[in-house]
Subunit: 399 residues, 2 copies
């Protein structure tokens, strides 16, 4: 009785479901402290104390103001509160030298909601959405929501930067958008200035060649999670047709609250219609607006940061120890993922071998890139420390 | 550069936009107290004080608990917190004699999010979605999101109950769902037991005739807004294949927070797959989950009610006065809308005539039912009182 697409999704989702159930069973059987679950990309650092304080202030202000509750919990324009968007625009302008105003921002139900209103606004059925492998698997569903086709670009397997020749060769007249996700999930790699300039150059050339506009959609949930002195970057400076989808989920550790925004720079082609189209899409896709109280709360926490040092400690320990044990790892520069080459061709065998040692990892084929696995190190330091002996045993299997 | 669908939506939305701008201009020119804006269905009563109290309690509890912030603002299952769903199930069971458990509920980003995850789960392209005119205009977009076709059933124009013969005649083998919205937007009519039993009987017969399942989707944002001793009703008792989409927007006056739920009763055909399908849809459409803090807050406010008497006062004054002035009105039994027959065939002329007297109304054709207008009386008592002289002058035009 369910739709054909959902029937297919139900069949496909059973593997992930099985792993989730298996993890719970393992924790119950062996004790949660003896299971090393690196499968989930959930923040492990608490939200800054300023967040709850901001919410309390908003509640107090609302209670003191006649009709305050209707404003705090009420409808606003589909794009979000004007003063919230203005505050975020100012913050971006200070940090990145951009020149946005409130009109360039649309508050969204997280980055997932943001990408969907972008896609609803720009995609016709049959259009092509390009992604650099490996990529966050749900991009495929987001494109499919609007009848578009995913075109996957291979990585340079030595660096996990995109293979630019493969990229250029796969752009067609139907290419409507390219998703760029840096710092990257699942590799932890950052696309540095040189890569971004090359991507922009290729897009400019191809736009001219085909007489089309190709929007670069920058999916930025990990923007502030950078290590080793790498700077936070903002991709609108490389390429005019850049649209940004941002989420506060990781930067303020509030993924359950579903709060983010989209930026449509004035430089983007047809920007006025894009903005109005995304406002309509926010409504007609059923989001209506980003949650109101949390919109106002994050606007008061724009200078706050999550504890990047916490993730960094896990990153260094895990990368160094796994490398020492003989695993080939890509050194993460951002996000909270470690990308490891499977010692055997079929990485599912490696994942299953890991389970025997109570290590939970996600297979690379879930990210369009078999032969690798992803470790999410957004876990406690104790979990990392305790896992090392298990990794040592796992390494012995492949010696 | 925007998609064809959005291009069309941009053209269509200009009329509503124009009205919004016009209303703002009128308020600026004549003073906001001299403009009688009955165009927007926004709650006018504040949220119960218990809501902000519940949020404060949750913040305090979270601050006292190690890792509390990760739970309060963190990811949970796509269906929502188990204890929130259990609390709502218990509340429904007490009030309506149902037998739901947490598994039957999926927390959603408002009713708009709920209807979209239902549609994503059950609709294939080309399926038919039936609605009773007049209807909330965005149902059309929700159906279109999944390539389905809207089939509009005429009302009985004396009562604005659905025309059941027209309904039965339009059901086909492709009918996948019927949306029922009672208390109704825009008419304020309630579909009483007899109507609901007739609808259920017709659906049962047609399911047998075609060998299909037809889901009745009950869109219930106004469930608790009933007058004159009418009881709150819950449609699952009439028909097994009923799915419920609920919103707390009106009942707790928090439309900006985007919080609601879907109920999938065990009796619904293929209920297990429906539930799992909606969990997947919540994720892949970009909602991911209903906002976390507000989920927990509403679970503590299930016994709270908005001030129905406030709306009732507006209802009685406006209905009696407009009727006395010679306008043909449908007496509202629920929601906060008054449905008025246009004294001239083209109700847009009536809407424009109203504007001359600073009265803002919405044309019936926006609800698939020309010849009528909707007045949203979720405004202050003062606005209603001050509008009466303007309505008297408007009536003179048509004497």
């Amino acid at each position: 009785m369910v739709s054909k697409k959902i029937q297919k999704a139900l069949e496909g989702s059973s593997a992930i479901r099985a792993m989730f159930v298996e993890g719970k069973e393992m924790a119950a059987r062996y004790g949660v402290e003896n299971v090393y679950d690196f499968s989930l990309g959930n923040p492990a650092t608490p939200a800054p104390a300023a967040l709850n304080e901001a919410i309390r202030e908003l509640l107090d202000e609302s209670d003191r103001t006649p009709g305050g509750s209707l404003t705090l919990h009420g409808y606003m324009e589909n794009a979000g509160y004007d003063e919230v968007r203005a505050a975020i625009a100012d913050n971006l302008n200070r940090r990145f030298g951009t020149r946005f105003s409130a009109r360039n921002l649309i508050m969204t139900v997280g980055a997932a909601g943001g990408l969907n209103i972008i896609f609803k606004t720009i995609l016709d059925p049959g259009d092509e959405v390009m992604v650099f492998a490996p990529f966050f698997g749900e991009y495929r569903q987001y494109a499919d929501n609007f009848g578009a086709k995913l075109v996957v670009v291979q990585p340079d397997f030595s660096t996990f930067q995109p293979d630019l020749a493969d990229f250029e060769g796969k752009i067609t007249a139907k290419t409507k958008t390219l998703i760029v996700n840096t710092p990257n999930n699942p590799t932890g790699v950052i696309y540095h200035e040189e890569t971004m300039r090359s991507i922009a150059g290729i897009l400019e050339r191809k736009q001219k060649e085909y007489g089309t506009e190709i929007y670069l959609v920058s999916d930025e949930p990990y923007r502030e999670l950078v290590y080793d002195g790498n700077c936070e970057d903002f991709l609108t400076k490389y390429y005019g047709n850049t649209l940004v989808g941002y989420s506060f989920s990781k930067s303020l550790s509030l993924p359950g609250e579903r709060i983010g925004y989209v930026v449509v720079p004035d430089e983007a082609a047809d920007s006025e219609n894009l903005i109005r189209g995304m406002e309509i899409s926010n409504r007609t896709l059923g989001f209506v607006n980003a949650p109101s109280l949390i919109q106002k709360a994050v606007a008061r926490c724009l200078e706050e940061k999550t504890d990047v040092a916490f993730y960094d400690e896990n990153r260094v320990v895990l990368y160094e120890e796994l490398t020492r044990l003989g695993f080939a790892c890509i050194k993460p520069e951002g996000a909270f993922y470690l990308w490891v080459k499977s010692p055997v061709e079929n990485e599912e065998d490696f994942v299953n071998e890991g389970k025997k040692h109570h290590i939970l990892m996600v297979k690379g084929s879930a990210f369009g890139c078999p032969g690798y696995v992803r470790l999410a190190y957004c876990v406690s330091h104790e979990t990392v420390e305790r896992s090392l002996a298990a990794f040592a045993k796992l390494a012995e299997t492949y010696r």
